[in-house]
Amino acid sequence: MNITFEINGAEKSVDVEPRTLVVDLIRTKLGMTGTHIGCDTSNCGACTVLLDGRPVKSCTLLAPMLEGRKVTTVEGLASGGKLDAIQVGFHEEHGLQCGFCTPGMMLVGKALIEANPHPTEDEIRWGISGNICRCTGYMNIVKAIQHAAAANAAENTAGVA
């Protein structure tokens, strides 16, 4: 069947089998391998993408469910060679070690601070509770999201002034 949806701002129309999982569609058919397959059982969050701005697990979505909707993957975060604030946060605070969970962590973090620009540490930890990191112990991931929230807040203040 044919499905049409938007991914990282570009409209795509592709032929898929209905049973195709979104994570496989993105990685195999569209060649974007920033979205990872971790547990493949909706536990780990390595496959996180944003669906109409909300983080979801793309291993637990069927491709036809994307019809008419907007998907953002880690490849859609930077624009015009400029890193998104959440990427800068992970860079500056060293919010990763092996990097496998990082695309999902950044997308969840971005959605979190868009919905809640000044999250507490508890709110951040609650927000990333569906994403597993086996390296960092989460300390620097929390700091990275706080860094991005602070950077956004500073930019907004500058914009007002």
Binding site: D24, K57, P64, V108
Partner: protein
């Protein structure tokens, strides 16, 4: 992992869904948020001929108050219950249960009606619906039925829903006094299925006595369990510590836990007792502080 092949349709109108269910019956599965169905498809525990996606049917989402009921559209997402803070004071147990369901990403997709119809004995909504005395509106090409939550859960993944029916809404009666409730859940790690959980909802009369009490137990039997003997023992009583302790022992007797990696049967039964006791105390305290 990927599912066995199936035909896929996403009708724009409920009538089309009902027509397809009438035509395909047991060969069809309804897809809402997919957070229970898709894992089953991937594991090939389910291999339907046709998947009917109800994601494009209007009118199945949202929470509203109508004629003494709170109405929850069957396709309402868990996260939309989580953020329905105006339910505080009326249906505390829903607000306490929602954030404990799986993780934030699953709650963004998964639906209340989907979870109820999936009827996992360790699913959180079943116990909640039993505690609040919910009714389920189900439709087929032949018409509409309203099924009480009590009796709906008949075994693991087995409900009173016929193969040509789809759930469209959940109705929860509210009013009739000051109410309070809560949900207590034991899990091995954040986002886990319950090892044991208890849902409690209490309505107090003008005289301060318990007008109505609802108790649902999760993950301690072949299906979600309504502790009817304990509920009956509470009705008309002063909400004293002794009455609550006695009711919690009766509720634990309604549990039918099995020993597994999460704990022995005796342990789970006692956790159920403790959760019902604590839950009733919290529910009564909240009701006493609530507006009528």
């Amino acid at each position: 992992m990927f599912p066995a092949a199936f035909d896929y349709v996403a009708p724009g109108a409920l009538d089309e869904v009902l027509g397809l269910l009438h035509e395909h019956g047991d060969d069809a599965k309804v897809l809402a948020g997919g957070q229970s169905l898709i894992p089953l498809l991937k594991l090939r525990f389910a291999a339907p001929v046709i998947v009917i996606d109800i994601g494009r049917v209007d009118g199945l989402e949202g929470i509203s108050r109508e004629n003494g009921h709170v109405r929850i559209g069957a396709r309402t997402r868990h996260r939309d219950v989580e953020s329905a803070t105006d339910l505080r004071g009326t249906l505390d147990v829903l607000l306490d249960a929602a954030p404990l369901i799986s993780d934030p990403l699953i709650r963004n997709m998964g639906t209340v009606g989907g979870s109820v119809c999936h009827a996992d004995p360790a699913g959180d909504w079943g116990a909640v619906m039993l505690a609040v005395g919910a009714e389920f509106v189900v439709k087929s090409a032949g018409g509409k039925r309203v099924l009480p939550a009590a009796g709906f859960f008949q075994g693991p993944f087995t409900t009173g829903l016929n193969s040509d029916e789809v759930m469209t809404e959940i109705r929860i009666p509210v009013g009739g006094g000051r109410s309070g409730g809560t949900y207590l859940k034991l899990e091995r790690k954040i986002g886990d299925f319950a090892s044991v959980a208890a849902a409690v909802h209490v309505v107090l009369g003008d005289d301060g006595r318990i007008a109505k009490a609802g108790i649902g137990l999760c993950a301690v039997g072949a299906q979600s369990i309504k502790a009817t003997v304990a509920e009956a023992a509470l009705a008309g009583q002063e909400p004293s510590d002794e009455v609550i302790a006695a009711a919690s022992r009766l509720a634990a007797e309604a549990a039918e836990p099995k020993a597994d990696i999460r704990g022995s049967a005796e342990y789970k039964r006692d956790v159920a007792r403790v959760f019902v006791q604590r839950g009733l105390r919290t529910a009564v305290n909240r009701a006493q502080g609530a507006a009528a």
